[in-house]
Symmetry: C2
Subunit: 146 residues, 2 copies
DNA sequence: CTGTATCCCTCTGGATACTG
DNA sequence: CAGTATCCAGAGGGATACAG
């Protein structure tokens, strides 16, 4: 029966959620998704990962010019944190002037694929979301008139 | 040849990245992934979506007690923003005392599935990441000693 | 060229008190 | 019960100057 299949799916999902939440929805839990999200939930990490994904090796200033609007400081900070998690590798050439090349590690490329999947979903559903926002804005206006 | 296949994959990925970045990595661009991420990149949205995903309908205080550590204010703010994007629906029963039930919309359930996929990746790779962090910490220590 | 250091401002989010 | 309003501390991040 259809219902059973749907119910089973639902059960599977709930099991997964329980695992992700580790039983409790604690902020400081072992929850790996929160840990991962902390790494690209900030302002520049996604752009950095995507931009690094477009090429094999990129130098610092090259990267900076490709990511519009990022400050020198924040690019450094972002790259360091990605490097710390093994998502990005940093190759320093002891020359003068110094040359440093950044690239995605295999781990970083794996995350990139996940991000692209998320982007696929986003593109498919962005219209629905924008529509919902308009509806919400209209409803808010009406409430304020009363 | 293997190489060709790999190259083709790489080309596909680069195309996708270009689309996501809309040509330029501009912060205020049309980039849908950034828009989506802005919705669950904050402190409480993920927990809220996951917790809502575990049941069909949940009342406000019930939700508050299930999400450990969230303040009343932030739960309200989070729910409102999710509602605004059509990810969560809010059903008010005009009773005394008031009763309000929250639930995921189909759109929200779609996002939940994406999050669970991300969680799968996270769980598979969290060990590698933790290992990378340890290595990085050791390297930092050595640098500081010099 | 590739950073680091400092200052400073904004925005997020927590605590608390009040309301329909 | 389910919020809203207000205040405030701390983190995130931009601008700028300096350094190896």
């Amino acid at each position: 029966m259809e219902v059973t299949i749907v119910d089973n799916q639902q059960l599977e999902i709930q099991k997964k959620i329980d695992k992700v939440l580790c039983g409790k929805a604690e902020v400081e839990s072992c929850c790996p998704i929160k840990d991962i999200l902390a790494r690209f939930g900030d302002k520049w990490s996604i752009y950095t990962i995507l931009t690094l994904g477009k090429q094999e090796k990129v130098r610092f200033n090259e990267l900076k010019s490709q990511i519009t609007g990022v400050s020198q400081r924040m690019l450094t900070v972002t790259l360091r944190s990605l490097e710390e998690d093994g998502l990005v590798s940093r190759q320093v050439y002891p020359e003068i002037p110094p040359r440093v090349e950044y690239s995605l590690t295999p781990l970083g490329q794996g995350l990139l694929l996940q991000l692209l999947q998320l982007a696929d979903w986003a593109k498919l559903n962005i219209d629905q979301i924008l529509e919902a926002r308009e509806k919400y804005a209209k409803k808010e206006k009406q409430v304020q008139l009363t």
